[in-house]
Structure formats: structure tokens, C-alpha cells
Symmetry: C2
Subunit: 282 residues, 2 copies
């Protein structure tokens, strides 16, 4: 019997690490590790330049939530991603958690390696994959990379100048994920990424906000305290993308945008918001 | 013969004050004062708590652009807005320029006063009105006011918590204007304002970016280096606005969004982007 692929939990960064309430994002992240017999979390700190500090933060947060075991896999170079001992460390994990940092470190150190192949295989077998901030951005097939500054540092051209992209992990197809969305004013950059190929849905995640992707990647549910912004570019009637006269800002007409909040559901397959599960709302 | 109302130039704040190139926003703001015989600019510093510094900044900027005369009208209290001497100071002006600061100071100190009545009358007679930042926000009939923090200071509820509104000047009907748009991550708050009454178009202006409203308020053209975001809520199929279960973020489905860049035109009357004037673009 073929197993269902594991859940993907994609977090916009800066998730609450103190809360232990039912709706806290990290509680959802830890769920599978807590419920499974001998289940544990492997924290992948490849993205960050401060792996010890990151590990300590999550060790404390997950401990508070009742996770009995968290292992840290800290890949510093490609050689380590080829080391069978490191690949073996993933065995038996219920949850693989990619920390924040620089998404290019994730793909450049792990892309094409036996370690990443093993992660794909485990996901197919039902292991949950979680990524926050850089770990979230890396989920898509093509990922946004920050460039030297975020859109907020320079009002003069928030779109094209910060629209640097690179090949991502491809754990979730057909989307472009951006994190720290409202906090760093990234609407224009995600819109620009969508306009490059409207096949992809743009998913912008506020901080302390996540989408839980289930049912073989067909739909997601929103978790956390902020908003999720879905940019659907299929209706775009005009873009200045290939117009050589354009400098800076990209003109885009008629994009469709959904703003989603906690418990809202969205069909990735149907590109539509799904009706709320609560019978009280229309 | 009835004269055409004057232009409205609505600036997203932090406009370039050093540049004297043809496309600089302040050059457009000064145009009418330079071209008219004896024309001058009246700078209204009512919004700011640093009127001297603001006046000095614009005196230097407009002097560099060739403006021969700039008067400062600094209203500190409502009494001054009733003083005939102050009303008289507007006579003969080609351009009235509202500085940035706090938009509530503009409306609370000037709302309903003879000074504001005179400004409305002058606008109808062809005088150009310019507003930047707070001066831009105050242009609409209902205006967004910042609240204690902008959306960027708190990722937990960027929408409703910062969605404080107040009656504006009403110089431009049927719109809600927000400034510092990408720089302060204000997409969710403008979307929330639009969802409250989708009759209004949301117009988000990046810094150093402006819309020049012409032809009896029927259309605008984009100036400056950033983007203009038009949120059209007429297509919204669902919003959680009146759902008492909602906390924080507002769910909105199917908003239409246009991103516009320098020289792009938009029909306010038709709620549609207009074709570029350049024959080179489709």
C-alpha cells in the first residue's frame, strides 16, 4: 500500500516560540513527533549562520510543547550532505524542520545530494516537512532570494531590483512562497515573481503565520496570527515584464488577490478559496 | 465660462527633494507656479510638528527648481483657520501644497473652516492641490489614519488593528489613499479599508511616487520611481468583515489588483488601467 506524502508546514518566519496554546504554529509542527511512538524532530540548521543559537531556541520551544527528542543536523558544506552518517540521522524522524537563515544556503549545500534525496523519499513516505522563513522560501520549485536588501530598504524600485530568483527544493510545485510578507512590504516582489510565470500561485506569508499543506498538496489551511496573501496571475491582461522601456517597477494589470486568515482553507489544485469549515459563516 | 478644477497631485511621501530632472515629482508640483505670471506656491504645514524645518526643506527644493515665491501658511489651531488674514494668504496662489505629518491634524484643525472652504473654491477655479504622505492620505473622503503603529510594527494583526479611519478632506471622491505603501507593508490595511466599502478604489502609493489626477478627476498618471497599487474590491465575493468570529486578519476573496509604474495611466471613472501613450508598448 502506497503511503500518502507527509504534510508540509510552511511558516512566514518569526513564529511564536513561547506560546503553548492549541493554535500555536510550533504545536502543529510538533504534533506528529509527539503523537508517534518514538517520534522525534530533526532540526536542519543549514540555512543559518548561528546554528547553535537556533538549535537552543527550538530545543527549548519544542521541549515546552512536550517533544521528547529533537536532533540537530547541521550541514556546513556539501561534503557533509554526502556523508552517509548524516543521511542516517534522518531515520525514524517524524518531522524534518528547516530553520530560517539564507535559502541559498539550503539549496547550494544540499541540492542534488544524497541527504536531500533521502528527505524527498521520507516526505513521500509520510514524514512531515516544516520550513520557516528561508526554510519556507526554499519549498517552492523556483524561490525568491532576498538580494542585497529587502523591498523595504529602498522605495525606489521595490519590484524588479529585489526580484532575484533561484532554483528551490521543489517540495511544493506550482507556487512561489514569500515570507515576512507584510512586515517587509514584499507585495510588489511577489507580484513580479508571479508575473514572470502566472502558472505559479504567489503565496505571501506574514510572520507567525503558516500554511499547512495536506491531501497530497491539493489544499492548505492557514495557521497563526497574521495573513496569507494568494496572488493568482492567470487573469493578468498586461505586464511590462518584457518591455525594455521599463525601469524599476513592473506594471501588472488584473491580478487576483485573496487575503486569508487563521482556519481559512484554499485549494491549490482549484486555485480557489474553500468554504470555511465552520457552519456559522457563509 | 466655468473653469476646469485644478490638478491634484497625490504623493506617497519621501519624494526626492534633490533631483531637478524632468521627471522629478516636485518639478511637476512646481510646474504651474513657474509657468504662471506671478504664480507662487503656498506650503501648508498644518500636518507637521516641525513646520520650520519642513518649510526650509521645501523652500530649498522649490528654489532649486526655479520657483520664485513660496509662502508658508502654518495653521497651529482652529482659530487660525478662521482668521481672514490667513484665508487671504491663499489669494493668487497657483499651487497649494500640503506637507506630511499627521493627517488628523489637517482635518481636525481645518475641517469646516473658512480656510478649507477657500481651498475647495480655489481648487474648483483651477488651482493645483498637492499633498504628500499625510497630505496625500487626507485627500480622500474617508482617510486611513495610522493608529499607534504601522502594519510593520506588529505582524500579528496587520489588518484590522491598524485599520483606523476618519473623515478626510474629500478633494478626491471614491478612493482611499495610502502612502509609504511598500515601505511600511500596508497592503493588508488598504485591502481592509476597501473591503469596508468596495465602492472606493484603494490607491497605495510607494514613497517618491505620485498620481497626477486630471480631467475633472477622471483619470490619473503615475509619476516617480516607485509603484502605485490599485485595489478594486467590486469583485470581492467573500469577506469576513462582519463575522464576529474573526480576530485580527480580515479574509478577503477575489480582489482585483493593478500594479502601475511611471507614466502608466488609470481611469478612475472606468476603474480600468488605460493603454500606455507610447506607441511602442502593446
Amino acid at each position: 500500500m502506497k503511503r500518502q506524502p507527509g504534510d508540509l508546514l510552511i511558516i512566514g518566519g518569526s513564529e511564536d516560540k513561547e506560546s503553548d496554546e492549541e493554535q500555536a504554529i510550533l504545536r502543529q509542527a510538533a504534533k506528529k513527533a509527539i503523537s508517534e511512538d518514538g517520534g522525534h524532530i530533526v532540526l536542519l540548521t543549514v540555512a543559518t549562520m548561528e546554528p547553535e543559537q537556533t538549535a537552543e531556541t527550538y530545543r527549548r520551544a519544542f521541549g515546552r510543547l512536550g517533544v521528547r527528542r529533537m536532533e540537530v543536523l547541521d550541514i556546513r558544506n556539501r561534503e557533509q550532505a554526502y556523508d552517509p552518517a548524516n543521511v542516517e540521522k534522518l531515520s525514524g524522524a517524524s518531522v524534518l524542520f528547516f530553520s530560517g537563515g539564507d535559502q541559498l544556503r539550503i539549496t547550494s549545500q544540499m541540492g542534488g545530494s544524497p541527504l536531500l534525496e533521502r528527505i524527498f523519499a521520507l516526505h513521500q513516505e509520510g514524514v512531515a516537512i516544516v520550513g520557516t522563513s528561508a526554510g519556507a522560501a526554499a519549498m517552492s520549485g523556483t524561490m525568491l532570494i532576498g538580494g542585497p536588501g529587502s523591498a523595504t530598504t529602498n522605495g525606489s524600485n521595490p519590484c524588479l531590483s529585489s526580484l532575484a530568483m533561484a532554483p528551490g527544493l521543489g517540495l511544493l510545485k506550482g507556487v512561489i512562497v514569500d515570507s515576512h510578507f507584510s512586515e517587509r512590504g514584499r507585495f510588489a516582489r511577489l507580484m513580479g515573481a508571479v508575473a514572470q510565470n502566472p502558472h505559479n500561485l504567489g503565496i505571501g506569508l506574514d510572520e507567525d503565520t503558516a500554511v499547512l499543506v495536506r491531501n497530497n498538496d491539493e489544499e492548505f489551511t492557514v495557521l497563526g496570527s497574521g495573513g496569507v496573501y494568494v496572488i493568482d496571475g492567470l487573469g493578468i491582461r498586461f505586464t511590462s515584464l518584457s518591455d525594455m522601456h521599463t525601469q524599476g517597477i513592473l506594471t501588472v494589470h488584473d491580478a487576483r488577490v485573496h487575503v486569508l486568515a487563521r482556519n481559512d482553507r484554499f485549494s491549490l489544485k482549484g486555485r480557489r478559496p474553500l468554504p470555511p469549515l465552520s457552519p456559522a459563516t457563509p
